[in-house]
């Protein structure tokens, strides 16, 4: 042990920047956040400890409670839609024999995943505008013009739809990677036994995709309440009450209004809620309790 320590002094020195970075920029904010959530929000002067006051205020704030629902509905909708569509697309694409067709579809549907929400959101705000593309299509069938971005009852649906549009290609790529790694012998054996292609898809491909599916579901549970960029870009006063996510609530209170105690208390609540939900979901899906 002691000789090892000496041998690795140089290596420990190499690690210092990384460890230091994580201490300062990962662990410190987390601990600071927890401490600040028990303090009164003040920009200067002495620190005032207020116990659970901030938590009480947040939990009594209807717009926070509603933001939890908004976040859950938007993210679960996006996740369910995107995973289902990606599953169908991946299996379907795998049946297409023409390789260039396959890679063209895959690449174009993957592109939006690379783009930021400012790009995707900005595009769709524009496509859904009164003079935009979607109203152009509606007009083609001589339907009435719809003011999509100001209709509160459509807002969550639009967030879910654009979320699916952005993510479906990425999920498809992940599913295709899982399909490609299936042992080809399985298909041969099934063929010899006279199983139809549909049956092979049902009995071989789908079961092989379940692990990937589970990981993706658990990952999106972790992000259940953290949707921010999309809301900042696509939200407007007419619809914000329907789409304000917890993360956006934290931003509005903490960064825009400097109500730091309130915002950090909300963050801590959301963090705990996320950990509990993720643990429950992974217990249900894989039989194991784990946070991640």
């Amino acid at each position: 042990m002691k000789r090892n320590l000496k041998k690795y002094v140089f290596i420990y020195i190499l690690l210092i920047p990384v460890i230091l970075y994580f201490i300062v920029f990962s662990y410190t904010p987390l601990i600071m956040g927890i401490i600040q959530s028990f303090q009164a929000s003040r920009l200067m002067g002495d620190v005032e400890w207020v116990g659970f006051d901030n938590y009480r205020i947040v939990l009594q704030d209807t717009s926070f409670i509603r933001s939890l629902w908004n976040g859950a509905i938007i993210n679960l909708g996006t996740m369910a839609g995107s995973l289902f569509l990606a599953l169908v697309t991946a299996v379907g694409l795998n049946e297409i024999k023409n390789k260039s067709v396959r890679s063209t579809v895959q690449t174009t549907s993957y592109l939006p995943y690379l783009f930021s929400w400012t790009v995707v959101g900005g595009m769709w705000v524009f496509l859904l505008s009164p003079n935009g593309f979607i109203n152009g299509i509606i007009n083609l069938f001589s339907g009435p013009r719809v003011l999509f971005m100001t209709r509160a009852n459509l807002a969550r649906g639009i967030m879910i739809f654009t979320g699916i549009w952005k993510n479906v290609g990425y999920h498809t790529v992940l599913f295709i990677a899982a399909i490609v790694s299936i042992n080809p012998n399985l298909f041969e054996a099934a063929q010899i036994d006279g199983a139809s292609r549909e049956k092979q898809i049902r009995k071989i491909i789908f079961p092989e995709l379940v692990p990937t599916l589970k990981v993706l579901i658990i990952l999106s549970m972790m992000g259940l309440f953290t949707n921010f960029d999309q809301i900042l870009v696509m939200g407007n006063p007419a619809i914000i009450d329907r789409i304000r996510t917890p993360m956006f609530y934290v931003y509005e209170n903490g960064i825009e209004r400097f109500n730091i105690g309130l915002a950090t208390a909300a963050s801590v609540i959301v963090l705990l809620l996320t950990m509990i939900l993720t643990a429950i979901v992974s217990k249900l899906l894989s039989g194991k309790w784990r946070i991640r």
Partner: protein
Amino acid sequence: MKARKIKRNQMTPPVRTLNKLLLVVLFISMVLPLLNVLAISFSSPQASMSPGLMLLPREFSVSGFVYIWTRANLWRPFLNSLFVTTVGTVFQIFLSAIAGYVLIKKDLPFRRFILVFIMTTMMIPGELTLVSVYTLYRDLNLLNTYTGLITNGLVSGFSILLLKNYFESIPHSVSEAATLDKAGEFKIFRKIYLPLSIPGLVTVGFISFVSKWNTLMVPVSIITDQDKYTLPMVLQALVFNTSSTSGTEFIAPNAVMAAIVISVVPLIVVYVIAQKFLVSGMTIGAVKG
């Protein structure tokens, strides 16, 4: 015989048609919006305001690009983003390669502890520490600085683990042979591990470039100085200005769409360069991930 066998292993005709139909619908709904944006960006300001379906430019012009780049000064946030992203990506690759290499030393004292320490950072959702990150940056005098933008997500546990897994996939015998030849630790790292890990390094670089280029939340929180705005911040302001009617200066749709097109060009370039390494980088890195 063989031909018959291949033919049999297909879906039945009606399912096949349904499948193709579905894929065509998906493809169209992915491509049309992108084409529409491209078409508007290359139209004249007047034509870009006219309603309806547009898949090809009307009254072809590049005035949108010229306007947004020079009159609206998009070059400044573009260069800001490019600078911050490039520097950040270089740091990300460099730091995670070193940390990843250290972590493959099986007999390293406290290895387990360091590993847990790094993996825990992946479980702290960065989003939820936003407010305390803001106060931290304020206390460190990093508000409105390039250093602040660069330190945001400088190195991630994910890329360290990805490279660690990649390094582990390199046969141990290679480095043992080098050790027998009395090659130093640093030389083994530089001459053996790095060159053999190009796909892993490119993957980390690519993921990091994309996420740094697109990052919005921390920049809008810590930057108020217009000269240091990054591209996503300016795009967000542009979109917000066009969707609300209270505009300061009216910017025509063709210019806004031109800004969008300009901002995705670097991503596409990076994707094309990285593409051929991505698959192997992802799969090997993910084996144990």
